[in-house]
């Protein structure tokens, strides 16, 4: 398969990568919306959710997309039209850029970027721009407040997220996501290598901080101040309808999926199985079938993490703005700084 890919002309490889990227973004997004937003949320509220479109409502998403595509492409009279129109695309672009560095198998990756972690964290903050711009261009007081709240919140939670990842980077000794996967699966716990060494064990504090920060970055409840529908009428999305709203909607859940993918790479061992099971030593020994099994493993780990995100979302009420900021600056950042220090000391000691 690798040989086949290498023998293809450059344009064909690029086309394949683009198609792969679209699948890697849209497939998780659709699955997340159906499994978690439609079904799990309903079950948690003792109802069944959509049941009419397709068996158990499985075609509901297509019905929704069809509905949104039919709607008129509205924009407010005093909106900054060009910016208003491209804002959702900025948000979706950041999702696509984000998935580019996620490794799905020993050879199944889009780009094997040396500073992958750095790139992922940098690109994920591009979505803030899209949201801020959407809030501003709507020429609507609710949207503006929502956009500003989003900016304040996303910047505040970017920091604990970066700091939580630093612990992983210190332990793996690399910023390359592929190397982080290899380091986890080739690792051993006090000489026992049956489980590899997924960093959720050693970096549990980092994992918790990272997941909380992801929750906030995705503006999921309890961190949904920017889109608080009861006070801000969905914040920066107030004025959006039709397919532009659809793009925001896809971006929200696609980003949830991609962040869960990145979290599974950083903390749960990514696509790999513990190398000791099959007697592999390094990246070069891995059998080719891992390129097929790897994405499936990634997908199941993603579903697990998204389940956590959505479970929290459907359980807790919204934070107040001051509580939200205090939690980021007074709790998460100090905790992750202490975590970095402890990791660094232990790294040197062992």
């Amino acid at each position: 398969m690798v040989a086949l890919l290498a023998s293809m002309p450059y344009w064909a490889q690029s086309l394949l990568r683009v198609l792969g990227g679209i699948v890697a973004v849209l497939l998780p997004a659709g699955t997340i919306v159906y499994v978690f937003l439609f079904k799990m949320m309903s079950f948690m509220q003792s109802r069944l959710g959509p049941m009419e479109a397709g068996p158990y409502g499985s075609m509901q998403l297509f019905a929704e997309v069809g509905k949104w595509l039919q709607k008129e492409d509205l924009y407010p009279e005093r909106a900054d039209k060009f910016i208003f129109k491209i804002a959702p695309l900025i948000v979706l672009t950041s999702t696509f850029l984000l998935v580019a560095v996620v490794p799905f198998g020993p050879d199944a990756w889009f780009t094997n970027f040396e500073a992958g972690v750095f790139y992922a964290l940098a690109v994920s903050s591009v979505s803030v721009l899209g949201i801020l711009v959407a809030g501003w261009a709507s020429a609507n007081k609710y949207s503006l407040l929502g956009g500003l709240r989003a900016a304040g919140q996303l910047i505040a939670y970017e920091l604990p997220m970066v700091l939580a990842v630093v612990g992983v980077v210190i332990q793996a000794g690399s910023m390359n996501l592929q190397q982080i996967v290899v380091a986890q699966n080739a690792g051993e716990i006090f000489g026992w290598n049956g489980l590899g060494n997924p960093y959720i064990l050693t970096q549990f504090v980092g994992f918790v901080v990272f997941m909380i920060a992801v929750q906030a970055e995705l503006t999921q409840t309890p961190f949904d101040m920017p889109i608080a529908e009861s006070e801000l009428v969905s914040g920066y999305m107030t004025e959006y309808s039709g397919f532009r709203f659809l793009i925001f909607f896809i971006a929200e859940f696609a980003t949830a999926g991609v962040f869960a993918l990145i979290a599974s790479v950083l903390f749960l061992g990514g696509w790999g199985v513990p190398f000791a099971w099959f007697g592999w030593e390094s990246l070069g020994d891995i059998d080719n079938w891992m390129n097929v099994v790897g994405p499936l493993i990634m997908f199941s780990k993603m579903m697990l993490l998204v389940f956590l995100i959505m479970w929290v979302r459907f359980s807790f009420p919204r934070f107040r703005e001051d509580q939200l900021q205090r939690f980021a600056w007074k709790v998460l950042i100090p905790v992750s700084l202490v975590n970095i220090m402890a990791t660094a000391v232990l790294k040197v000691a062992f």
């Binding site: 799990m40 079950f43 948690m44 509220q45 003792s46 109802r47 069944l48």
Partner: protein, 163 residues
């Protein structure tokens, strides 16, 4: 930190509800496919027992939003006993209830002195055209079939009137 146990308790509630819904089924009813029987005294639709109506207009006048339309005329009926005078009776020409206006207060049913109006728990009579919500005498008469038997009186209660 004192709030942490509460957080897990909250997560437990939603998880338990999810497991219960999956194993025991949801609290909701999938309406067009399965139906809940409404309570026996539910205010679904008002049925007319035409034979009891004397077109006295009490219901039409007491209706808060004037959704009952009655028209009638007087007729001479044969005398009850041989050699008597012919009786004058009120004949009902029109008895319509506009369910687009009705607010289901039930005053007409309460006020009817001759037991001509009854509550029926039937509720599935929505229409695509609002004008079709005007139920005429015949349709109101059909609803009589869905009127449940009056519940048993309490022990020792005095039976009043006749049905």
């Amino acid at each position: 930190m004192a709030k942490v146990p509460g957080l897990f308790k909250g997560l437990g509630v939603t998880l338990n509800t999810m497991v219960e819904t999956i194993t025991k089924g949801a609290n909701t009813v999938q309406y067009p496919h399965e139906k809940e029987a409404p309570p026996i005294r539910a205010r679904g639709v008002i049925a007319l027992h035409e034979g009891n109506c004397t077109s006295c207009m009490l219901c039409a006048r007491s209706c808060p939003d004037w959704c009952i339309y009655i028209e009638g005329h007087k007729e001479l009926a044969p005398p009850r006993r041989a050699g008597g005078k012919p009786r004058q009776v009120n004949k009902l020409d029109r008895f319509d209830i506009d369910y687009a206006l009705c607010m289901y207060c039930g005053i007409c049913v309460e006020v009817c002195p001759f037991d001509a109006l009854f509550w029926s728990p039937e509720y599935e009579y929505s229409e695509p055209r609002i004008a079709d919500l005007l139920h005429d005498k015949a349709k109101l008469g059909e609803w009589m079939e869905t009127v449940p038997e009056a519940p048993e009186l309490e022990a020792g209660a005095e039976k009043k009137g006749k049905k």
